[in-house]
Symmetry: C2
Subunit: 231 residues, 2 copies
């Protein structure tokens, strides 16, 4: 099998791969046992991925086909490698995974961003600093410093917002059931994002979500664990 | 097939069946095409369901077997009627439905309760009024009147909290995909709860969630639509 190429967001350290969406794709590729060659990519390198039609990663290239957007990539991988373990576990599993993917992006990502925004900034390559700060500050309507200044006051409410996840993981090892599926990778992405750039403790150590996160870190020979990160 | 008996929460009007959890079960039974006889039940009739081991509905009785808790009932129906259409669509679908069920109970139910608490109260049978008020006011730490007084200020944030649901329903007709599954019924339950007791407009008319709610109301010959309710 020829390798798939993955454009993977990196910090100043080219080995620090911190994008939550790229981690979804990285784990989906591992689930499908697809060999991958990653290319470190920075926010401002729009030209390098222009063929994808988008300005953000993940982007994969399989033979001459360029695919962007982590959800579209997951669907592409499921269709293209049908004999490898299923990412979705059937049509209903795929439909419900879409909800969990949106929940991760709309609940976890913004709340975790509010905890780690300065930590992301402090790990960026120099050429990305201005782009990151100006685009994010425009979106949130305040400085990154002002956003994270109140993070200690907000973390309890953020942990509470994870209650549906926590309650589910009291009954089963993975969101997908006995074994991990794409929904697990989609929800894990934002936690790995934090872990890759920030020492801030988002999860308490006795949280079932923390134990689940550790199970994902153990998958595929420690693929997500053994990277530049904090723990 | 012998009928299953469902103890179904009712208001002063015995035909006003407003429990979100009972609606999950009612639709699950219809999905499985299981004939059902419902028994109007009030909050304070704990004796009538004592054999279930719990003090809350839904409770079903199939032959001599008593089963309580809407999720346990759904799993029981899936196992007991394997030849009828699947509620979960496989093991992964079942595992992911558990998350959506918790999301409905932990995100939708408390927030919608804050909008309709007095409307529930005002539809109760006289013998339930004191029980309902005292148990709920103890839980929320204020009077029902104080809770709902600010509902106009809160409804926008509640609509925003439904964003993962809304975004999912922009891509597919049902949470389960092309056709409804238990996850749809689990998430629909809280909306039907509101519809059965309150004229308060939770969903805007151009919301994809509103259109999806209407699709659920159309199922099974209008089973959920053609009941005492507001619209």
């Amino acid at each position: 099998m020829t390798s798939v190429r993955l454009f993977d967001l990196a910090g100043e350290d080219p080995q620090r791969r911190f994008s939550p969406a790229c981690w979804k794709t990285r784990l989906a590729l591992a689930h499908k046992a697809v060999p991958v060659e990653t290319t470190a990519w920075r926010f401002t390198e729009k030209e390098a991925i222009a063929k994808s039609g988008r300005g953000t990663v993940p982007v994969i290239v399989n033979r001459d086909r360029w695919i962007s957007d982590s959800w579209s990539i997951a669907e592409y991988l499921e269709d293209t490698f049908p004999d490898a373990p299923s990412l979705f576990g059937g049509e209903v599993g795929q439909a419900l995974a879409r909800f969990l993917n949106h929940w991760a992006d709309m609940v976890l990502v913004p709340s975790i961003f509010g905890l780690i925004a300065m930590d992301i900034h402090d790990h960026l390559a120099p050429q990305d600093l201005t782009y990151f700060r100006s685009s994010r500050e425009q979106r949130i309507g305040m400085t990154l410093e002002a956003l994270v200044a109140s993070r200690d006051d907000r973390v309890a409410a953020i942990r509470a917002s994870m209650q549906p996840l926590r309650q589910t993981l009291k009954s089963q090892q993975f969101l997908g059931g006995d074994s991990p599926r794409y929904a697990d990778y989609a929800v894990f992405g934002p936690f790995q994002w934090a872990r890759c750039v920030s020492p801030f403790q988002i999860l308490e150590r006795d949280d079932p979500v923390f134990a689940w996160r550790n199970r994902i870190l153990d998958l595929f020979g420690g693929l997500a664990r053994n990277v530049p990160s904090y723990d």
